[in-house]
C-alpha cells in the first residue's frame, strides 16, 4: 500500500511537469549557477538580456577547467540563498562575501576576490567624515541583505538606513538626491563613479573592514551537503589564482575610480 502511495505521488510529481536533475550525486556533469544580474561589474544583465561581467567570465572559465557544462540562472538578491537551498541552482556566484552569518546556511568555496568597501556621496558633500556621529539623521542607502546593510544596521543606528532590492536602484536614488550616502564595495561603486554617477557623486571615504560583518572576501556559495562540488570549485579556483587567469579577468573588468 505504501509503495502504491509512493508510486502515485511520484507519478503526480512527474506529471506536474517537474524537472529533476537526475543522478548528480556521483559526478557533476552539469552545474547550475545562480547570479543576480544587477551588480556590475561583477554580473549584469545587458539590454540583450545577456549576462556579462567579471564573474560571468570567471565562472565560465572555472567550468572550462572543471570540464562541466554550466547554465546560468538569474535570481533576485533577496532570495539568492533561499533559492540555492531550495535547489533552484547549485552554486551562487554573485559577489557574495563569505560571512559567518551566511556560513550558518551555506558553505563557501575558496575566496576568489577581495575588494575594499567605499562610501560614496554627492559632490557637494563637505569633508570625508563617515563616523556614525557625523552621519546622524542622514539617509544612507545600501542593497538589502548584503554585508553593507548589516554594517549600517550595526553601526549606524541613528542614521536613516534605506535598503534597496538592487545596488543599481540605490545608485539611482543617490543621483536623484534621495540619499546622502551609499555604501557598497569599491568595484561596484567605481563602475558607478566612472559611469552614471560621474557628474553627481564622489568617493567620500573607504570603510574600515569589520571582520565579523564583512568576512574574508568574495566566494562561491554551495549547499552544505554538496562537498564534492565545493572541492571541485576549490581546486579550479586555486588553479586560476596560480596561473594568473583570475588576475587577467579582474584587470579586464575592474577599473577602480581614481581616489582623491
Amino acid at each position: 500500500m505504501k509503495g502504491f502511495v509512493r508510486f502515485l505521488a511520484a507519478a503526480a510529481l512527474t506529471v506536474a511537469g517537474v524537472t529533476g536533475a537526475l543522478a548528480q550525486a556521483k559526478e557533476w556533469k552539469e552545474v547550475r549557477i545562480g547570479t543576480e544580474g544587477a551588480y556590475p561589474p561583477y554580473n549584469n544583465l545587458n539590454a540583450k538580456k545577456e549576462l556579462e561581467g567579471y564573474e560571468i567570465d570567471y565562472a565560465n572559465l572555472l567550468c572550462e577547467k572543471m570540464k562541466v557544462k554550466c547554465t546560468w540562472v538569474v535570481q533576485d538578491w533577496d532570495g539568492i540563498i533561499p533559492a540555492l537551498l531550495a535547489n533552484k541552482y547549485d552554486i551562487i556566484i554573485a559577489g557574495m562575501n563569505a560571512t559567518d552569518e551566511r556560513k550558518k546556511q551555506v558553505d563557501f568555496t575558496a575566496v576568489y576576490n577581495k575588494t575594499p568597501i567605499w562610501m560614496v556621496g554627492p559632490k557637494a558633500t563637505k569633508g570625508n567624515e563617515i563616523t556614525p556621529a557625523a552621519l546622524k539623521g542622514k539617509a544612507v542607502g545600501a542593497q538589502g541583505s548584503t554585508i553593507h546593510a548589516n554594517f549600517l544596521e550595526k553601526f549606524y543606528k541613528d542614521s536613516n538606513p534605506r535598503l534597496y532590492p538592487t545596488q543599481e536602484e540605490a545608485n539611482l536614488d543617490l543621483i536623484n538626491g534621495r540619499l546622502d550616502y551609499i555604501v557598497a564595495d569599491a568595484l561596484a561603486l567605481s563602475d558607478f563613479l566612472n559611469g552614471k554617477g560621474k557628474d553627481c557623486c564622489k568617493l567620500i571615504a573607504e570603510v574600515p573592514r569589520d571582520a565579523a560583518i564583512h568576512g574574508p572576501g568574495v566566494a562561491g556559495a554551495v549547499r552544505k551537503s554538496d562537498t564534492a562540488l565545493k572541492a571541485l570549485f576549490d581546486k579550479a579556483i586555486a588553479e586560476t589564482m596560480a596561473d594568473g587567469s583570475n588576475k587577467k579577468l579582474e584587470d579586464k573588468w575592474f577599473k577602480l575610480a581614481a581616489t582623491n
Partner: protein, 238 residues
C-alpha cells in the same frame, strides 16, 4: 523583555522573538500608510464621483480616463512610476518647491496609494449614487432643497450605506496591497519581515507575518460588519 518580543517568546519562535519589535513597528507603518491614504482617497473620491455624475462633459471624460487608468494598471507599477519616475525630475520639483515631498519614500507611497484608492472608491461611490432612484433627487428639489443640499442630505447618506460594503472591501484590499511599499525601501510589516528573512533565512517568519495580516484583516472585517449592522438597523432590508 519588551512587549513586542512576547508573541515570539510565547510561540517558541526565536526568529519571531528577535524580530518581533521590528515587525510590530512595521505594522504601525502599514497602519499609517493605509489610514492616511484611504482617508484622503475617500475625500477625493466623493468629489470625483459627484463631478463624474453631475459635472460638465469635459470633467466627466477626464475623470473617466483617470479611473480607467488607475484601475487598469498594477499598483506596483504606479508606485515605481511615482517613486523612480517622478524622482527623475528632481530639478523641476526643486523649482516648484515640492522635492521634500517626492524625496521621501513614505510620501511617495502615500501619494500613490491615495490616487489609486481614490479611483476605486470613486467608482464605488458613483455606482452607489446611481442606484439611488432619480425620483429622490427630484423629490428633494420639489421640496425646495437646493441642488447641493439635496445631494448632501438626501442622496449621499443613502449612497454611503449602499457603498459601505464595497468600501470595506477596498480598505482590506489596500491593507494587503500596501505590502508593495516594502519594494521602495519602506520598513512596513512586509519590509520588516523581508529584512528578518534576509538575515535569518527562516521561512517561518513569513508565516508569522501572514498571521498578523490575517488577524488585522479579520478584525477590520468584523468591525465593519458591526458598523453596517448599526447603520442599517432602521432599514427593513434584512
Amino acid at each position: 523583555m519588551r512587549w513586542c518580543e512576547y508573541p515570539g517568546y510565547l510561540t517558541g519562535s526565536e526568529v519571531f522573538q528577535n524580530y518581533g519589535c521590528r515587525m510590530f513597528s512595521g505594522l504601525w507603518i502599514t497602519f499609517e500608510l493605509v489610514a492616511i491614504s484611504v482617508t484622503l482617497g475617500f475625500a477625493l473620491a466623493i468629489g470625483l464621483a459627484i463631478a463624474r455624475l453631475y459635472g460638465p462633459r469635459w470633467a466627466q471624460s477626464v475623470i473617466n480616463g483617470y479611473t480607467t487608468f488607475f484601475r487598469g494598471t498594477p499598483l506596483l507599477c504606479q508606485l515605481f512610476l511615482v517613486y523612480y519616475g517622478l524622482g527623475q525630475f528632481r530639478l523641476f520639483w526643486q523649482d516648484v518647491g515640492l522635492w521634500w515631498f517626492f524625496r521621501e519614500p513614505f510620501y511617495c507611497a502615500v501619494f500613490t496609494f491615495t490616487i489609486n484608492t481614490a479611483a476605486y472608491q470613486a467608482e464605488i461611490l458613483r455606482g452607489a449614487i446611481q442606484s439611488i432612484p432619480r425620483g429622490q433627487f427630484e423629490g428633494a428639489l420639489a421640496l425646495g432643497l437646493h441642488r447641493w443640499a439635496s445631494l448632501r442630505h438626501v442622496i449621499i447618506p443613502q449612497a454611503m450605506i449602499l457603498g459601505l460594503r464595497p468600501l470595506g472591501n477596498e480598505l482590506i484590499v489596500m491593507i494587503k496591497a500596501s505590502a508593495v511599499a516594502s519594494l521602495v525601501t519602506l520598513f512596513d510589516l512586509m519590509g520588516a519581515t523581508r529584512l528578518a528573512f534576509a538575515r535569518s533565512f527562516d521561512l517561518s517568519i513569513y508565516l508569522y507575518a501572514a498571521l498578523i495580516y490575517l488577524v488585522l484583516v479579520e478584525i477590520i472585517r468584523r468591525v465593519w460588519d458591526r458598523l453596517e449592522l448599526r447603520l442599517t438597523r432602521h432599514m427593513a432590508l434584512r
